[in-house]
């Protein structure tokens, strides 16, 4: 699991772990765009994503010693990022109490296959990104972890603090939420055009 288009710079990572400031700079330049995009997808605003990216890299400086060099650096980096973003979202959720957990208990409607196919066919990437902004923190976080950073179900379960068997449900509910948001966007667009 690498950051998109990035081959792991093993030697630079080793030097950065040994405290080489230049190597650290190289790592930052290499991975900051991918981590920023991860945060941008996971967090509600651009400013949040910028802050989170900086905080993640500051945190990473202290945590680099904990990295197991036999495993993928990108995967580890995404795990750290996911934990950080989820912490941010969770803190806000506690403070602002915007989300309600009742949503979790609503039974999911089985989709009409042809209608779903039509919906997916008509939507663009940009519309999906806009729809993501309207979703709850956990649903968005789950989708980002799975479809941006390609994290495994185990890693997602670990980051979100749920059981592994529940990850599929979280992802499915997230997709339903996304579809609703996409339909809402389309309705808004239609309303605007008329």
């Amino acid at each position: 699991m690498n950051a998109p288009g990035i081959t792991e710079p093993t030697e630079v990572i080793t030097r950065a772990r040994a405290g080489d400031a230049e190597a650290w700079g190289e790592l930052y330049r290499e991975y900051a765009p991918a981590i920023f995009r991860f945060c941008r997808r996971a967090l509600p605003t651009r400013e949040d994503a910028e802050d989170a990216t900086m905080e993640i890299f500051m945190k990473l400086k202290g945590k680099l010693g904990q990295y197991d060099a036999t495993r993928s650096f990108s995967a580890w980096l995404y795990k750290v990022s996911a934990n950080h973003c989820w912490d941010m979202l969770r803190r806000r959720r506690i403070r602002q109490d915007k989300e309600t957990d009742d949503v979790e208990n609503v039974p999911l409607e089985h989709p009409d296959p042809s209608q779903l196919e039509l919906l997916i066919e008509q939507r663009t990437s940009e519309e999906v990104r806009k729809a993501l902004d309207k979703m709850s923190g956990r649903a968005r976080m789950a989708l980002v972890m799975r479809y941006y950073s390609d994290m495994s179900y185990d890693e997602i379960a670990d980051a979100l603090g749920v059981r592994r068997a529940f990850v599929g449900v979280v992802l499915l509910r997230a997709r339903h939420e996304l579809r609703q948001a996409l339909e809402g966007n389309a309705a808004l667009a239609a309303g605007g055009a008329s």
């Binding site: 930052y28 969770r90 296959p113 992802l171």
Partner: protein, 566 residues
């Protein structure tokens, strides 16, 4: 889609199809799903739609729709530069602080003491390095040296880490540290005695340092070493070859002490002979006729009476003082009133600063007339220096707080959060504010607990220093709102601290209000720090507990949602 109810029941649910495309099903179940979707149009369509949805999601996520913000592009460089600036400022200000402290406080003292005839000694030297107050100081100095070495080693490790591997750097530090610890300490024979009534009998000789604690302590024999006493009533009629450190209600020295006497007592009366210097903090100090101090005398006492002889200079602060003995050096005194009796002999100059002219007997033998200076009470805040120093100290505290916030940002946030609950930190603060010093004093009495007491007292002082910063941060948060950003928190702390200082400074001049405000701030801040520490060391019960209310997990192959549409 004209399907029979039986056929409908055989349709796969969305969850199963999602788990299938995500490769989360076991092989057997996967083959079943594969076979079914090839035969069933509805399930095949749903599977394709889900796959397309996955692809759309991945594409939408991975597309580079916006470039890296310039703030992030420059972050690495900026962070490096800003830290350089911070450390530069810290060291610069620290150096300035040391210089200001030296020129503002230590040097004038030194000059004054030199003028008073203390021949180049200074108060710090007098207390610690010269006439050794107590052998324990040597341990403290060693402890400070070790601390300084550890700090230097830490800085060295930070420096080396840039050049060598972490393990090597740590090895270097540990090697250095072990070398320091491996240096053998001097052998020390120590005698401990405690009880209601503790005695060193007339024909008894104790070799080495002696610690005595009790209600009544009497030393009629010989102590060949230093004597450290904590008691209600002390009587030294024997011989002490080293120094005496005494904390007592009433102390009387009728015998001989070859070294120094240091201590704090309610009443101290000396009728015997002291070989070196005496430095005491008492309510009443009396040097009886026939008593002799070989070195200098430094006394902070309400009532000061000197009828014996002093070999060198006298520095005394008192309310009422009288001199009727012999002083071979100079006298520098500060107090309310001074009387120099007819039997007084002073071979050096006499300077007195007080509220009343000294009463000098015409029969007194003085080397020169008494130099009197009327002591004028001047309010500190009337001069511009006062405000300049307030600003410097405020800036220094903010800088201190900034360094702490940068070093331990998470703990700083936890402390501020603890302070925001008001009741608990103030309650705990009262306990810590009074309890910790009492515990430290009790630890001192157990003697072996002295290093622990020193450490505890040091930590207590550090908490007092940080308390105002914590309260400042809470005030800053109240004004500007909370933030999770470290620099935002520092900014709020600085703003709040300045406001607290502005409010507190005038209050400080109203006696009771100033004391109450100070105590309130200290207790609040100290309580918050203690509460954060307490929470930090609490065992973590469930680190991975889900944040959402518990929802029963759904096995991978069960149906989600309602029945398939007709």
């Amino acid at each position: 889609m004209n399907e029979t109810p039986e056929e409908k029941m055989k349709h796969l649910d969305e969850m199963t199809l999602l788990l299938y495309i995500e490769r989360q099903l076991d092989r057997a179940r996967g083959l079943e799903v594969s076979a079914h979707t090839q035969e069933c149009d509805a399930c095949g369509t749903l599977l394709r739609a889900l796959e397309r949805e996955s692809r759309l999601l991945t594409r939408a996520m991975l597309e580079e729709d916006e470039p890296l913000p310039s703030r992030l592009a420059q972050f690495q460089e900026r962070a490096r530069k800003s830290m350089q600036w911070i450390w530069g400022l810290v060291f610069g200000l620290a150096a300035t602080g040391v210089y200001a402290l030296y020129t503002g406080y230590i040097q004038p003292w030194q000059t004054e003491l030199e003028k008073a005839g203390f021949g180049g000694s200074n108060l710090l030297g007098l207390l610690i390095f010269q006439g050794a107050m107590w052998k324990g100081w040597q341990s403290m100095v060693t402890f400070l040296e070790v601390l300084a070495m550890v700090t230097l080693a830490g800085l060295g490790a930070m420096f080396f880490r840039r050049r060598i591997r972490r393990g090597s750097a740590l090895a270097l530090v540990f090697a250095g540290f072990c070398t320091v610890l491996a240096v053998p300490p001097g052998a020390l024979a120590t005698e401990f005695r405690k009880g209601d009534s503790v005695k060193v009998e007339k024909d008894e000789t104790i070799k080495g340092d002696t610690y005595l604690t009790g209600a009544r302590v009497r030393v009629d024999g010989t102590v060949d070493g230093d004597l450290i006493v904590f008691c209600q009533s002390l009587d030294i009629g024997g011989h002490v070859t080293g120094d005496v450190l005494t904390f007592s209600q009433s102390a009387r020295v009728t015998g001989q002490v070859d070294g120094n006497i240091r201590g704090a007592n309610n009443n101290l009366t000396i009728t015997g002979t002291i070989g070196k210097n005496v430095m005491v903090f008492d309510e009443t100090f009396t040097l009886e006729p026939g008593a002799k101090i070989g070195g200098s005398l430094t006394s902070f006492a309400e009532g000061f009476g000197l009828e014996g002889s002093v070999g060198r200079d006298v520095l005394a602060f008192f309310a009422h003082g009288s001199i009727a003995g012999k002083i071979e050096g100079a006298v520098r005194a500060k107090g309310d009133s001074l009387e120099i009796g007819s039997t007084a002999v002073i071979e050096g100059p006499v300077r007195f600063e007080g509220h009343k002219q000294p009463e000098v007997s015409s029969s007194a033998k003085l080397a020169s007339p008494v130099e009197f200076k009327y002591f004028e009470k001047k309010h500190d805040y009337q001069g511009s220096d006062y405000y300049i120093w307030r600003v410097i100290w405020t800036a220094a505290f903010i800088l201190f707080g900034m360094v702490l916030f940068l070093l331990v940002p998470k703990f700083a946030r936890e402390t501020i959060s603890a302070a925001e609950s008001y009741g608990a930190p103030i309650g705990l603060g009262i306990l810590v504010f009074f309890g910790v010093p009492i515990a430290a004093i009790i630890a001192c009495f157990t003697v072996v607990g002295i290093p622990l007491a020193i450490f505890t007292a040091g930590f207590w002082i550090l908490m007092v220093c940080c308390a105002e910063l914590v309260v400042g941060a809470v005030v800053g948060n109240l004004i500007l709102g909370r933030t999770t950003d470290t620099w935002g928190t520092i900014g709020r702390m600085a703003l709040g601290f300045v406001i607290v200082r502005i409010v507190y400074t005038p209050l400080g001049h109203v006696h009771v209000l100033g004391i109450l405000a100070g105590l309130g701030i200290w207790m609040w801040g100290m309580g918050a720090i203690s509460l954060a520490l307490y929470r930090r060391f609490q065992p973590v019960i469930a680190p991975n507990a889900p944040s959402a209310p518990y929802t029963p997990p759904m096995p991978p192959n069960t149906t989600v949602g309602g029945p398939l549409p007709a």
